[in-house]
Symmetry: C2
């Protein structure tokens, strides 16, 4: 079903061929994880929800894959947080930005940034450097589901807090983000909505404690250990018998 | 460079979107393997070469991804072994079979089967059941690079020997093949050519010994252990520091 969604997104012109390759890499990692949300991912999701609720200008960065896989959950999350959605693409073209914006609007998004009043983020050479002045450029916290490469590092260097959703706990994005949720976006974003609803009434001091108690490096390390255990078990069941 | 080749194969109409997803899954596994041929894979390659040299009617089964990634090596191997090449697709269409045949012919293949005098393999419901009477249908050994699913099982049940090239040692194909080479096709097929050249002069009794001494289950188990060690090391370098 997920695979069908990404292929449909491709046929609709939201996803590029490289996005299908990236999705395949994620599938392999999700298979190893057992295709389920781990306790560690739930913990990271809770910390991410607290951080988003504490933020003054949270922005959700959306690429073609995220738009294809979880459009409704992204929109729900943006409404819960009053967060802006911004289309930000590595394989950037005006037409694709427009297509993704229109797709999200057709699903109920009230406003989607990405191609109006764009500024350049310093220190980045990829097309990801184009950020909306009202969006990522001036955000204090950016949620970046599904993203390779060097942008997370630069955004952190610019003083922003980054929440990554990434199935590879060893990726550069996972390693440099403020909070990394090692999970599939189709599970992580709905979980994030629920966590935001559950924490919505808490006073800032409690949210700060939840966020402050979270140790991203320890969480990533636990995820890697879990992947190793899981692989050992997979191997045991099917080969080492 | 490999990624460019598969995307070009897609643009040329050889590869379907699902093939890009499958390639991405392979990339993730190859990354864990360190993107190099392991001693275990070399050993499996040598056993596969011996088996191919012992076979009376070896056939190389080619899908869109294989045609896009290693056309010249496939053709070289078919000439070294005097083996037929047959296009066999899961997402089968007459046009795509034709396009892949034409592509391989343009690269120098002398004859490519796949859409003429086709018979149905019993027990298979996928479009992979269509096999050329002169090719896979009457083969004694079939080389199947990059293949998911249930065909390897059926071909083994029909008394054929199967050589799989698969980066996932836990896949059904890897587990049921007679010889499984856990490696990237872009390395495995040239290696197979070299092994065939090296063993080409050996008498059958020596080839039988090489093939007979090879234990596929033990090789797969060793590959899984190697993947686990490699992941542990990756984790140690980047996270557990």
């Amino acid at each position: 079903m997920i695979r069908k969604r990404i292929v449909e997104g491709f046929e609709r012109g939201l996803v590029v061929p490289q996005g299908l390759l990236a999705h395949g890499r994620g599938e392999a990692l999700d298979y190893i994880l057992g295709e389920e949300t781990t306790p560690q991912a739930y913990e990271a999701t809770r910390a991410a929800a607290a951080l988003l609720l504490l933020s003054k200008r949270p922005v959700i960065s959306v690429n073609g894959n995220t738009a294809a896989l979880a459009p409704q959950d992204i929109i729900r999350l943006s409404k819960l947080l009053n967060a802006k959605i911004e289309v930000n693409l590595f394989y950037r073209s005006q037409e694709r930005v427009k297509r993704i914006k229109e797709y999200l609007s057709s699903m109920g998004a009230s406003q989607v940034l990405g191609d109006d009043d764009v500024a350049e983020l310093p220190g980045l050479s990829s097309p990801r450097r184009f950020a909306s002045r009202e969006g990522i450029y001036s955000a204090d916290t950016v949620l970046v589901p599904l993203e390779d490469g060097d942008r997370a590092e630069k955004l952190v260097a610019l003083g922003k807090k980054i929440i990554a959703i990434d199935l590879n706990p060893l990726s550069r994005t996972a390693q440099t983000a403020t909070v990394t949720i090692v999970d599939n976006v189709v599970r992580a974003i709905p979980n994030l909505c629920v966590a935001v609803e559950n924490l919505g009434d808490k006073p800032p001091i409690e949210l700060e404690k939840i966020y402050g108690d979270f140790d991203n490096q320890a969480n990533l390390k636990a995820m890697i250990e879990l992947i190793l255990r899981r692989l050992t078990r997979l191997a045991g069941l099917e080969v080492l018998k």
